[in-house]
C-alpha cells in the first residue's frame, strides 16, 4: 500500500541537523507533537501496512519565512530508504521556478510537484503558476495541490477552493492534478472536478473533527454515497493520511470502514498511486 500524503516535519535527526527545523514545525506547519526518530516514521508505516510513502515539502519561505521541509531534505530521506517517494516544491512566483522544478525532478530524482496556494501565498490563476504547470506537464509528473482547509496559521480558506483550479485543469489535460484533502469542506466541488476531468485525482487525507472512522463514515457514506467512490471515482482516488497530523494506521482503518469492495480499495491504496507515479502499468 502507498500513502500519497505525508509530511516529514517531526524527524528528530533533522531537528538536530537543521537549526530552523523545529521552529518550522511549530510555527509554520503548526504541529504540537513530539519530535520522533526516523525509525518511528517507518514503524508507523509498518503498523498501518504501508509499504511506501510520498513525502511532501512546501516551498513557502517567501511567504512564511521558512520552508516546510526542503527539496534537499526530502531527497536526503529518499536516499536513506527506498520506501520514501519524494515530491518537490517550488515557489511559482520566484524567477526560475520552472528550471528549479526541472532540476529537482531530473537532478534530485523527485517524482512530483507539491503546491499550496494558501501557505505559499500565491494566486492559483497567476500566469506564473501556469508556466509551472507547463513545466510539470513536460516533465510528465503529477501535481499535488493543497485544497480545502489548512491547519497552518495565517492561511486563508478561500485559497483552498477546488474550483479555483478548473482553468488550469482544463488547460493542461495531460497533467494530472491531485486535489489534496479531497477539497474538504468543498468535497462536492472536488467530486465534480474529478467527474468532469479525467486528469483530476483526490487524496483521502481529509480529517478535521470526530475520529477518522466517524469522519469517513459521515462524508463517504452519508454526505456522498459510497457508490460514487466505488463506481465513478475508483480510478481517481489515492490514499493519503496527512501523517503526522494523524497516524497512518487510523486513516487506513477509516478508509477500510466505509464498505468499499476489495477491488476498489486496492486501487485507492495502491494501483492508482502506482499509475500516477509511473511505478507500474495499470489496466482499467
Amino acid at each position: 500500500m502507498i500513502d500519497f500524503h505525508t509530511h516529514p516535519v517531526l524527524i528528530r535527526e533533522f531537528a538536530e541537523k537543521y537549526p530552523d527545523y523545529t521552529r518550522m514545525a511549530r510555527e509554520v506547519f503548526q504541529i504540537g507533537n513530539n519530535l520522533q526518530p526516523l525509525e518511528t516514521f517507518f514503524l508507523q508505516m509498518d503498523v498501518a501496512g504501508i509499504e511506501r510513502a510520498v513525502l511532501l515539502p512546501v516551498a513557502c519561505a517567501r511567504a512564511r519565512g521558512l520552508a516546510v521541509s526542503s527539496n534537499e531534505q526530502v531527497t536526503e530521506l529518499c536516499g536513506i530508504s527506498s520506501r520514501f517517494i519524494g515530491f518537490a516544491s517550488v515557489d511559482p512566483l520566484q524567477p526560475g521556478a520552472a528550471k528549479e522544478l526541472e532540476a529537482a525532478i531530473r537532478g534530485l530524482g523527485l517524482k512530483g510537484l507539491k503546491l499550496d496556494a494558501a501557505l505559499q501565498d500565491f494566486d492559483l490563476n497567476d500566469p506564473k503558476v501556469f508556466d509551472l504547470y507547463e513545466a510539470a506537464a513536460a516533465l510528465g509528473i503529477p501535481v499535488l495541490i493543497h485544497t480545502g482547509m489548512s491547519w497552518a496559521p495565517g492561511t486563508p480558506l478561500d485559497r483552498g477552493r477546488p474550483l479555483l483550479l478548473e482553468p488550469a485543469i482544463a488547460r493542461f489535460p495531460r497533467l494530472n492534478f491531485v486535489l489534496a484533502h479531497w477539497g474538504w469542506p468543498w468535497v462536492w466541488d472536488a467530486n465534480a472536478l474529478a467527474l468532469k476531468y479525467p486528469n483530476v485525482y483526490v487524496d483521502t487525507s481529509c480529517f478535521y473533527y470526530d475520529g477518522p472512522t466517524e469522519f469517513f463514515q459521515f462524508h463517504f457514506q452519508q454526505q456522498m454515497p459510497v457508490t460514487l467512490l466505488e463506481r465513478s471515482l475508483r480510478n481517481q482516488i489515492v490514499f493519503g493520511s496527512n501523517y503526522p497530523r494523524v497516524e497512518i494506521k487510523n486513516m487506513v482503518k477509516a478508509i477500510k470502514s466505509i464498505g468499499l469492495t476489495d477491488g476498489c480499495l486496492e486501487k485507492i491504496l495502491r494501483t492508482n498511486a502506482e499509475k500516477l507515479l509511473g511505478l507500474s502499468p495499470v489496466k482499467h
Binding site: N33, Y209, D210, R245, N250
Partner: protein
C-alpha cells in the same frame, strides 16, 4: 540524602504494547549509589502508562484486551475535536483513559542497594498509542 533522576527513552514498535522495563529500573537504582530509600518510576506521556504485574505474555495480552473492551475506540468521546493549537484532531481519548485506568507510576523501596520487589512483580511501560519513542523517568531517593 541522594536524589538521582534518569530520563530513559523507549521505542514502542506496535500500536499497543507492554514493554518490560524492570532491568532498566534496576540499573538506575544500582548506579545511583542509594543503599536505602525509594525509587519512583513515571511515564512522561498521557497516552502511555506504567504498571506492575506478573511478567507473563498472557497477562500482557489480557491487560491490553480488557482495556480495549472497557474503553473501545468507537465510544462517544468529547476529546474527538479539532485542536487548533495542536495542529490535529484529538481523537485518542481512549488511550488517555487507558493511561488513567492502568496508572502512570509505581514506587518500590530500596534496601541494601537493591529494589525490594515481589518475586513475580514486573515493571511495564504500557504503550496505548504507538508506535512512538517515549520517555519515562526513574527517580531514586535515599542515602
Amino acid at each position: 540524602m541522594i536524589i538521582k533522576l534518569d530520563k530513559i527513552k523507549v521505542q514502542s514498535r506496535k500500536a499497543e504494547e507492554a514493554i518490560d522495563i524492570t532491568p532498566q529500573v534496576d540499573e538506575s537504582v544500582a548506579k545511583s549509589g542509594v543503599k536505602n530509600g525509594l525509587v519512583n518510576v513515571m511515564t512522561c506521556h498521557t497516552s502511555s502508562g506504567l504498571l506492575v504485574t506478573e511478567g507473563l505474555p498472557c497477562l500482557e495480552e489480557d491487560i491490553l484486551t480488557h482495556f480495549a473492551r472497557l474503553l473501545p475506540e468507537d465510544e462517544n468521546y468529547h476529546h474527538r475535536r479539532y485542536l487548533d493549537f495542536d495542529g490535529r484532531v484529538g481523537f485518542n481519548a481512549e488511550t488517555h483513559l487507558k493511561s488513567i485506568l492502568g496508572g502512570i507510576q509505581c514506587s518500590f523501596p530500596i534496601e541494601n542497594g537493591k529494589i525490594v520487589r515481589g518475586s513475580r512483580q514486573t515493571i511495564y511501560f504500557m504503550e496505548y498509542d504507538g508506535p512512538l519513542e517515549r520517555t519515562y523517568m526513574v527517580q531514586v531517593l535515599g542515602e
